[in-house]
Amino acid sequence: MSIPAITKVSGTAVYVPGADVDTDRIIPARFLKCVTFDDLAEGLFYDVRYDGDGKLVGHPLDDPRFSGASIMLAGPNFGCGSSREHAPQSIYRFGFRSIIAVSFAEIFFGNSTGIGMPCVCAPMEEIEKIAQAVENDPSTQVSINLEDMTVSYGDQVVPVSMPDSAREALLSARWDPIGELLGNARAIEDRAAALPYI
């Protein structure tokens, strides 16, 4: 199994403001009635993008200026709530390849890394500045560099953070650990044998 190393993500960006944006908001539960992840993009932020009659209400994701954005900007505790991987999957399938937020809920963060979508943290004021730059010029290229842990846009470069293990996993093409986990079959069996309840 070969997966690519992820060292850099570049593209245009869109700001989805708010604190504690939860997984029910990212993808309402009724869209989870599926047996594959294939069609999840359409449910992304559905209840805040559409009104009761199914008409668009003017969410940033639907603003034509930001169409094609591959980087999402967000506030603190992004992705809190459920462990459903449907949330990062719907963001990824919508076209995003990275999220910059003040902080992430842990399971959401892990799920995102596990599908090769890096999540990096920056202070609120920096995110607001990037959002402002993107607002002024939606074609602004934003680049997340995992090697030196910076985000650059226009002539600005700001440091971002991410736990070492996730960074290491992305840089060394090990963000999907299944190959390595499977490779340790002997050690798994030894561990199981040492646990009296298995």
């Binding site: 594959t36 505790n77 809190c80 459920s82 842990e106 892990g110 799920n111 986990l181």
Partner: protein, 470 residues
């Protein structure tokens, strides 16, 4: 320095260190349900591999099952396809399945303990964030995503980074009419919805020592609402009494061995923690939420927060957003807020003790006109016990609809949903926008007895007064 339970269990289940520095952690018990497992089985098929330890995975169906009419096919074809898919997967891979016909089906976090599958000193995962519930037995139990469900099926391990451990002591005595749900909401209110990020919570102190297993489960269940990926209580005699004789617990000599082993996992008296929080039980009142995050909690006697009194601009904006959505007036008492729906159920408060407690008080009372009240047992076994004890009748006579087991109105994946901007007094665990099925529906979290009081009076009120609890 002694060790805490988290470290002991972690060390015993660590297979090795992965190249990125994470630990490959062996998973003792894997629970699955219909929502987060089908894609994982699909990935297994794509990889052409099987399930490594099928005897360590247990399945049930809970989120999508209708609670009124369970005749197949379900009225919702998508829901019916999901349950068919689960059946296909468990049959193909030889996994134990507590299905609708088994008499043992129910919410996965209620079924595990009921069956004695949930045991101390082990690692338990499920593709569901409320897996923390199982920590009540002294296990490391946490929710995982679907790709990790695949990893567990394929290898019985996952890649995981170790958490820090925060000990939360609740000392003293809870006052009458204050329940474990109030303890959970109080802790989240104090530490915040993201206060637990990076931590496992170890709950202890006199209040937890005195709690029943079901009360411990209610608090551990909501660890994730405080941002903690898992929460646990050290195993003690209460744990053993609950587990003895359950279908999947060891028997005879094996029981004695297990007891010895389980006890050895409890945190040592001089164990080290990364953080310690002390809470006085006397400070805890019946607690309700007023907003759209579980840390938006206040005591029933308090007033709805006023954005003018916020400590920061961020806090002000968050109060404004929440009150705008909840359509609640800043500064008014929360007491007296009219309710449209009352829901008693979910993996937080859908256990036998919850229904027994409420039944005691609602006998002879009537749900207020205009209020829809649902009582939904968390499992078929809970349902059967309630029926044997006549509890279902007490609820029905009071005007509650007594339903079949499932997640029901906790989330919008089955026909039980709020309509429009209905306000629901709910014993569940999340008050996120749209959580209960209507994009504008409003959820107020509280203990089951507080829900019952709201159902009977038609407004958010103090259950201690309604039912003369003192």
């Amino acid at each position: 320095m002694g060790e805490n339970l988290y470290n002991k269990v972690w060390n015993d289940h660590a297979v090795g260190t992965l190249a990125d520095g994470r630990t490959q952690l062996f998973i003792g018990t894997h629970l699955i349900h219909e929502v987060t497992s089908p894609q994982a089985f699909g990935m297994l098929r794509d990889l052409g591999i099987g399930v490594k330890f099928p005897q360590r995975t247990f399945a049930t169906v809970d989120h999508i099952v209708p609670t009124d009419n369970q005749q197949r096919p379900f009225s919702d074809p998508l829901a019916d396809a999901m349950i068919s898919e689960l059946r296909k997967n468990v049959e193909e891979f030889g996994i134990t399945y507590f299905d609708l016909a088994s008499g043992m089906q129910g919410i996965v976090h209620i079924v595990g303990p009921e069956q004695g599958i949930t045991q101390p000193g082990t690692t338990i995962v499920c593709g569901d964030s409320h897996t923390a519930t199982h920590g009540a037995f002294g296990a490391i139990a946490f929710g995982i995503g679907t790709t990790q469900v695949r990893d567990v099926l394929a290898t019985q391990t996952i890649a995981m980074e170790k958490l820090k451990v925060r000990r939360i002591n609740v000392e003293g005595e809870l006052r009458p009419g204050v329940y474990s749900k109030d303890v959970a909401l109080h802790i989240i209110r104090l530490l915040g919805a993201n206060g637990g990020i990076g931590y496992a919570y170890e709950y202890g102190g006199r209040v937890f020592d005195n709690f029943t297993m079901e009360e411990r489960m209610t608090v551990c269940n909501m660890s994730i609402e405080g941002g903690a990926r898992c929460g646990y209580v050290n195993p003690d005699q209460t744990t053993l009494n609950y587990l003895e004789g359950r279908p999947h617990t060891p028997k005879d000599a094996a029981w004695d061995d297990a007891v010895k082993r389980w006890k050895s996992y409890a945190s040592d008296a001089d164990a080290d923690y990364d953080d310690v929080v002390n809470i006085d039980a006397a400070d805890i009142e019946p607690t309700v939420t007023w907003g759209i995050s579980p840390d938006h909690g206040i005591a029933i006697s308090e007033t709805i927060p006023d954005p003018e009194n916020a400590n920061s601009e961020a806090e002000r904006a968050s109060i404004v957003e929440a009150l705008d959505y909840m359509k609640l007036p800043a500064g008014d008492p929360i007491m007296g807020t009219p309710v449209d729906v009352a829901f008693i159920g979910s993996c937080t408060n859908g256990r036998i003790s919850d229904f027994r407690e409420v039944a005691q008080h609602i006998k002879g009372r009537q749900v207020a006109d205009g209020v829809t009240a649902l009582a939904v047992p968390g499992s078929q076994i809970t349902d059967a016990i309630c029926k044997k004890e006549g509890i279902d009748k007490i609820f029905s006579e009071a005007g509650f609809e007594w339903r079949a087991a499932g997640c029901s109105m906790c989330l919008a994946m089955n026909p039980d949903k709020l309509q429009g901007d209905q306000l629901c007094a709910s014993s569940s665990n999340r008050n996120f926008k749209g959580r209960q099925g209507s994009p504008t529906g409003r959820t107020v979290l509280m203990s089951p007895l507080m829900v019952a009081a709201a159902a009977i009076t038609g407004e958010i009120t103090d259950a201690r007064e309604v039912f003369s609890v003192n």
